[in-house]
């Protein structure tokens, strides 16, 4: 019965070299580890992930330390990999004598074996004992003790050598190089030699180069937040896939780290002298940079703490409360900006030693580390551009704002109010009521524009202040200040709108209630349904006496309501656009986009296999000679590649909140609310958090001592040193 075996072979081992001991991981799916019979586990493939190899000399020099070294390396691997499999010695692979991959077998040994046992060595699949020789003359066998080396290893390790592979190198082609051809495998007291071999060649993932990632079906990142199904439904959907590539890909991603740790344990590298000098020079520069950044950051921290201290004293007062309610967006934005300024070193410093081992985790943590300070820097950059542009054109901006607002107010709005008091477009407006409403709105507009006109001379200072705040704090601060200023300066519009919508909605409600009265029904607000209702004749008469004027006055009220709603909604729409821009600036993952533009291979989203056909002509030649060879074992060679994201998929998840902020059904409910006179909420403003800023809603104010903060900043910046990991260990 053939067993399937998959060997994941790093590309750098495809160079020709001597026989070597292979180190890596045996990844088995859980079902095969629990079963003991060979028949049921025969169908499950054995995954052998090879990380690195050491030659015989190095192996003998390690000696008895091997188990300790492997144990130390294992402890530095990610916990999920440690739980499933540990780094171990995989087996031995010998280099072949001939260059075309033929197997050389020593005739003497075969004869010797025949003499001893009297039977040809090839007697059965499970009790077969292969005696093969390599060029150097070592005997390699599954059951026999190998010539001292394995002996040493076996005696030094206390554990059972459960799994071992034995094979030899085969040359495939020029671009593929040498791959191992496994002869047999020791697996849980069985020897399996009838193997269906599949060799997958992968390029070792390194940080800053590429790595492998399985893709969305195994990740839980996307779309779980919006899903409303109970958990057990989702668990049903997660079928246990027969192909457990999670652990394999994790092991592959850790291969480079494992190799590095092993080399460090076994033989610490000695660098050249010039390398030391360069290293020291760069380290000094980084230290200097870290100190500068820390000083600047600490000075800002001092200023922020002072302001916070001052504000905490006036926080109970009435003025503070009104200020906070009036300038809501600015307040939120300032809070977010302060939290970003306070917490950027905390995010940057976030180094997890476990994440050093797996390239995928290291990449993800680096994305997280650099996201916050980069977002602040880019925001400040945009703000500088905006602020400088505004400063240079302050006067013309001021003038144009005045002309536009004067134009809108006088030519459009006043005239529309005056026209409404007449009989525009054949509307059946009641003159008295239209007169009252029109006079009220006209007076309000006139009073308000007189008030704002008197503040004309200090408006230029507003604009300049806006520009300076943009330069200092980034683009989002003047944007939110603009929203708040627009809201404050159009208070008359919103208050008029509120008043007229009150009248309109009450009128609509009264009319519908009276209409229901005539049909003999009454609205039950508790149960939200219509109940039948016996009413007396007096109620009926009074109801119909009131119904007629309410119904006939409705066109007047609705005409005024519609015009005010249009104006109000336009202003609200402008404010909402600015809010969307602010949230997009906060939510865009700048570090991801920047890295994707430079190195797109750092963002894999799936894997694919490139299959190479190989000819097995050499096997038949061997078959003719000696039938020692295991019959019919096939080798399949493939190469592991990865897909990369395109820009849409990359930034898609970060903008998913926009979908939830504006749900589809809100259009019809919006129309209903407009026509029934209820108020319209601003959707983004009601979001419980600032999306994308990477911050939870209520981050506590940081109040650590200055010196500690300075050290924190300096250590965080210094940890970004490219030579840091070398220096650390």
């Amino acid at each position: 019965m053939k067993r399937k075996c998959r060997v994941w072979w790093p590309r750098h081992l495809s160079q020709p070299h001597s026989s070597s001991f292979l180190f890596g991981w045996f990844v088995s799916s859980s079902s095969s580890s629990s079963s003991s019979s060979s028949s049921s586990s025969a169908s499950v493939p054995i995954e052998v992930v090879v990380a690195f190899s050491i030659d015989d000399a190095a192996f003998s020099s390690i000696g008895s330390d091997l188990e300790g070294i492997l144990h130390k390396i294992n402890k530095r691997m990610p916990t999920s990999l440690q739980d499933r499999c540990g780094l171990s010695m995989l087996g031995y692979c010998s280099a072949d004598a001939s260059s075309n991959g033929e197997l050389h077998l020593d005739r003497e040994l075969v004869d010797g074996y025949r003499q001893i046992n009297g039977t040809p060595p090839n007697s059965g699949p499970h009790t077969e004992q292969q005696i093969l020789k390599d060029r150097s003359g070592y005997r390699i066998c599954g059951c026999h003790n190998v010539d001292g080396l394995l002996d040493q290893y076996k005696t030094s390790t206390k554990s059972n050598l459960g799994q071992l592979v034995y094979g030899s190198y085969i040359y495939i082609s020029r671009n593929l190089g040498w791959i191992p051809k496994l002869h047999h495998i020791h697996w849980d007291m069985h020897i399996a030699s009838d193997l269906d071999l599949h060799v997958l060649i992968y390029g070792t993932p390194r940080f800053g180069g590429h790595h492998f990632y399985l893709g969305s079906q195994h990740s839980s990142e996307n779309a779980k937040t919006i899903s409303r199904k109970p958990k057990w439904v989702e668990d049903l959907g997660l079928k246990k896939s027969a192909l457990d590539l999670d652990s394999v890909i994790l092991a592959i991603n850790c291969a480079a780290a494992a190799t590095l740790f092993f080399e460090q344990q076994v033989s610490p590298k000695r660098h050249a002298l010039w390398f030391h000098y360069v290293h020291m020079y760069i380290t000094m520069i980084w230290q200097l940079l870290a100190v500068c950044v820390a000083t600047v950051s600490t000075s800002i921290y001092v200023v922020l703490q002072l302001l916070y201290f001052l504000l905490s004293h006036v926080s109970d007062s009435f003025i503070y409360a009104t200020f906070e309610n009036l300038f809501i967006h600015t307040w939120k934005n300032i809070r977010v900006r302060c939290c970003q300024i306070l917490y950027w070193p905390v995010f940057l410093q976030n180094n997890d030693s476990r994440s050093e081992s797996c390239v995928e985790y290291a990449e993800k943590s680096s994305l997280l580390k650099h996201s916050m300070w980069l977002s602040v820097v880019i925001d400040v950059l945009f703000g500088n551009l905006f602020g400088l542009a505004l400063l240079t054109h302050a006067d013309s901006v001021c003038l144009s704002i005045f002309t536009i607002s004067g134009d809108i107010t006088n030519n459009w709005w006043l005239i529309s109010c005056a026209r409404l008091m007449g009989n525009p477009a054949g509307f059946k407006l009641n003159t008295e009521l239209a007169g009252v409403l029109g006079t009220l709105s006209l007076n309000t507009i006139q009073i308000w524009s007189t008030l704002w006109g008197s503040m004309r001379f200090i408006f230029i200072f507003f604009i300049k202040g806006l520009a300076i705040s943009g330069i200092l704090f980034g683009f989002t601060t003047p944007a939110s200040l603009t929203i708040d200023l627009i809201t404050v300066s159009t208070t008359h519009v919103s208050s008029l709108h509120w008043l007229i919508s009150l009248v309109y909605s009450r009128q609509i409600q009264a009319t519908t209630a009276l209409w229901r009265l005539f049909r003999g029904q009454k609205w039950n607000p508790l149960r939200e349904r219509l109940d039948s209702y016996d009413y007396t004749v007096e109620q009926h008469i009074v109801g119909s006496l009131l119904f007629t004027p309410l119904l006939l006055l409705l066109p007047t009220t609705s005409a005024f309501y519609m015009s005010f709603t249009i104006i109000n909604m336009t202003i609200g729409f402008i404010c909402m656009l600015i809010e969307v821009v602010i949230s997009v600036i906060h939510a865009t993952p700048y570090i991801k986009i920047f890295l994707w533009l430079l190195w797109p291979s750092r963002f894999p989203c799936g894997i694919w296999f490139e299959i190479f056909p190989i000819e097995s002509h050499d096997k038949e030649v061997v078959q003719e000679r000696i039938d020692l060879e295991t019959t019919g074992s096939d080798i399949l060679v493939s190469c592991l590649h990865s897909y990369t994201y395109n820009i849409g998929e990359l930034v898609g998840p970060d903008f998913r909140y926009l979908h939830s902020a504006v749900p589809r059904s809100s259009i019809s409910s919006l129309v209903y609310r407009v026509f029934s006179g209820r108020s319209l909420p601003s959707p983004l403003y009601n979001l419980p958090f600032v999306p994308g800023a990477g911050l939870p809603p209520k981050m506590p104010w940081m109040s650590i001592p200055l010196k500690e903060y300075w050290f924190l900043c300096r250590d965080a910046v210094f940890a970004c040193n490219p030579f840091h990991s070398h220096a650390k260990s």
Partner: protein, 295 residues
């Protein structure tokens, strides 16, 4: 063979009875059928006398429309209207006092308070009604009013009265509510065409008095004495016809034709087609529950 069989029994259980078909009927079939059980035997004279109340109400409505027309043409002044209102109230009360059997002082007092509240409310609301439809063209108002008056006449409950005499049992039906609504809205629409507020108040008061109380008064009168009822009806018809004749000839002809139709043609027609009435009742009907059991 027949002797061996059992007699066929009309039961709902027991399954097939041997020897008989499944749909077998015997000679007691339809024995319990009752024909025309609820049909009232009508007499020509009685029907004509009963139709007098319909034409009486028609004349009352026509009189109200007349008053409206004259007020809109400024033929009637507001003082006249107010005097008319007070006269109507007084005479209505007078007739009620004479004819009603179960009147007490408390009831009268409650009526008086209701009427005073009503009047005050109307007086307060009349400026609103004054300018209510100023922007709507007159043609629309006339058309709407005509439609509403016809609707009111069509759906009116001629058998009783909306404002109940004390002790009446029926609840107002949907159609009587609609007719009342139509009449009130029509009077409001007409009132909004008038030039002064006092006129508005007076005309609304007048219309509402007539529409609400006229059925009650005529009902009480009819119950008191049938001859008086007939006399008043003919008097009303004569008055209406005279004044309509003075106003507009065509309308006079229409009204006359309508009265003749209601009083003469319709009863004859009813009697004629009465003989074709064929109602079947039997034990197969659904049971009707009787709630209206009065002691």
């Amino acid at each position: 063979m027949e002797r061996a069989q059992r007699r066929w029994r009309k039961v709902a259980y027991g399954g097939m009875q041997p020897g008989y078909d499944d749909n077998h009927t015997d000679d007691t079939f339809l024995q319990e059928m009752v024909m025309n059980a609820n049909v009232v035997k009508r007499d020509m004279l009685k029907v004509m006398l009963d139709s007098v109340s319909i034409s009486q109400y028609l004349c009352i409505v026509a009189l109200v429309v007349l008053v409206w027309t004259h007020t809109l043409n400024s033929t009637i002044t507001e003082n006249f209207l107010i005097v008319l209102d007070i006269t109507l109230v007084g005479s209505g009360f007078f007739i009620l006092l004479l004819t009603a059997k179960m009147l007490s002082f408390n009831l009268l007092l409650s009526y008086a308070t209701k009427i005073s509240f009503f009047t005050t409310g109307l007086y307060v609301l009349s400026p609103i009604y004054h300018t209510l439809t100023r922007s709507i063209s007159s043609d629309s108002i006339w058309a709407l009013t005509t439609f509403l008056v016809i609707l009111h006449l069509f759906l009116h409950n001629y058998s009783g009265s909306t404002i109940k005499a004390p002790g009446a049992l029926e609840n107002p039906t949907l159609t009587s509510n609609i007719s009342l609504n139509a009449s009130i809205v029509a009077s409001l629409l007409i009132a909004s065409r008038l030039p002064s507020r006092l006129l508005v108040f007076a005309i609304i008061l007048f219309s509402l008095q007539v529409f609400l109380f006229a059925p009650l008064v005529t009902y009480c009168l009819k119950k008191y004495s049938f001859r008086l009822h007939l006399f008043v009806s003919f008097l009303l018809m004569a008055m209406t016809l005279t004044w309509v004749y003075r106003l507009h000839k065509l309308l006079f002809v229409v009204l006359l034709g309508l009265l003749v139709f209601v009083n003469l043609v319709c009863p004859y027609w009813l009697i004629r087609i009465q003989e074709y009435k064929f109602e079947i009742n039997g034990p197969w009907d659904e049971a009707k529950l009787c709630f209206n059991i009065t002691d």
